[in-house]
Symmetry: C2
Subunit: 294 residues, 2 copies
């Protein structure tokens, strides 16, 4: 197995005439790179993105960079120089011999406490093989996210809708799912709406309509969901971002969790209830998502 | 300024006959020590404690270690060898020339993804001077924590009551307080109860009664609050852990935020409302807390 590629980037522009290339530093990904005083590790105070790479090309890179910038703004981080981060992503892919299929993670932390200087790195890693989940479907449980659906507008300091490094809850929810014999989670609001997975967006099919829960509920704008909606649109479906009640799920005639590396994984069991799986449509959309990288 | 002391500890016992001392490794706190693949930094997936040190002695160390073990259990981390961590804390203090007054942080992360081996370090740092806040009081705003007060029992995967590294929300709440011209925050539940600060416990005085919000609400068991309650008890007050409605705060005749390094900071302004400050009682309790370290 080859070594993951790690490039450290200074993510905030310091002078206009400094070449981007000179600000990317290839480091040994097995050596420690983060100080014990970095707020990323002491407070989960930072943001991230994970990007699928197929045939050497990053999927939905623009959407990931836009979301990274949005997360930075929500956390009051300095404005990021996205072109430097983009260059680091492309160089990471270029240097990784598994570039035919891999994943790339971007991490930006607030940096060492007191410095006000964020740090950023881009890291490649090998993507797990998700073909079985795409083909056979996954078992999902509904778990409360604890918030009412309209919390984002009322309490922006809760950072719902930002992709922060404070993901301990997301990992705990996945452990709870495993305890219940399931593979993944759909979070629900305390007032009965469906939200998103711990690391995936929810997509539902009702006849010719394709829905995803509204991001006004303080959930992430899904990059893979966005790319999939373009495909669904081309296939003649009417796509929309809506409020969906938990009680509406029983009427869905297909349901997927969409994420950057697993793409669309059909839900085949929701709590104790079978969910119809549309294998053909799943394959068609996933093939189209992979094809956009060509 | 001298260098902070950092000791890396292997926090899970591997063999019964290995001496603790051999498992403590003094490292350079300015060198990077954390891999970019450590779940502490990639997911805020870990736990921490901050311990005040006065006259070379850690305040409420047993209570901090108990809470660390409790947080570990809530996160399904392996059982920690608390005696090794205790030894690291004491050695860190011993090696730091500012041991007369400093703070010590314990961090335990889930470790590098896929290894299942948690990592732990203990780090000393100089305590900010909090004398002005103790003497003059602080300005506090009420901010919603977004959860109903009984969320902990209903949704343990939300990890309320665990002191995790996923603290981005706590930092964002403090930035919101600063935007409102305040120093600190008291979180409230969506159904109208008061909870805790982002890094402090709330203590309220109503005549001869001293109350703190019940930990059944998924808030941290305050180590400093616990020590302060012993002092209040000796002073003749009746202490209790209770559910307190936001509307009851107006009747309090004193209020404090209690934390390991700032100790009891009296609240002098809550949103737009003046709060009575009991300077004598504040000084008495803080002096007693500092004295327990002698």
């Amino acid at each position: 197995m080859s070594m993951p590629i790690c490039i450290i980037v200074s993510p905030v522009q310091e002078s206009a005439d400094e070449a981007i290339e000179g600000r990317l530093h290839l480091v040994d990904s097995h050596d420690p790179q983060v100080p014990v005083t970095d707020l990323g590790v002491t407070r989960g105070d930072g943001i991230f993105e994970v990007i699928g790479v197929v045939h050497g090309r990053p999927l939905a890179l623009d959407a990931h960079l836009r979301r990274l910038a949005n997360s930075a703004a929500m956390l009051d981080l300095p404005a990021l120089e996205l072109e430097a981060i983009r260059a680091a992503v492309l160089k990471t892919i270029d240097l990784d011999e598994h570039r035919e299929e891999l994943s790339v993670k971007i991490v930006v932390t607030r940096g060492v406490e007191g410095t006000g200087v964020p740090i950023c790195w881009v890291l490649s890693f090998q993507t797990d093989d998700h073909r079985a989940e795409r083909a056979e479907g996954i078992k999902v449980v509904l778990l409360s996210r604890g918030y009412p659906h309209d919390i984002a507008a009322r309490a922006p300091w809760l950072l719902t809708g930002a992709k922060t490094l404070s993901y301990a809850i997301n990992k705990a929810a996945l452990r709870e799912a495993a305890r219940r014999g399931a593979d993944d989670v759909i979070f629900t609001s305390t007032d009965g709406y469906v939200l998103e997975g711990p690391s995936a967006s929810l997509i539902m099919k009702f006849g010719q309509r394709i829905w995803t829960p509204s991001t006004a509920q303080g959930i992430l704008r899904g990059t893979t969901q966005g790319a999939a909606f373009e495909v669904f649109g081309r296939l003649g479906f009417a796509t929309a971002e809506v409020l969906v009640g938990v009680d509406q799920l029983a009427a869905a005639d297909a349901m997927w969790l969409a994420s950057s590396t697993r793409l669309l994984a059909p839900v085949r069991l929701l709590d104790e209830h079978d969910v119809p799986v549309d294998h053909d449509l799943t394959d068609t959309v996933n093939a189209a998502l992979l094809d956009t990288a060509r």
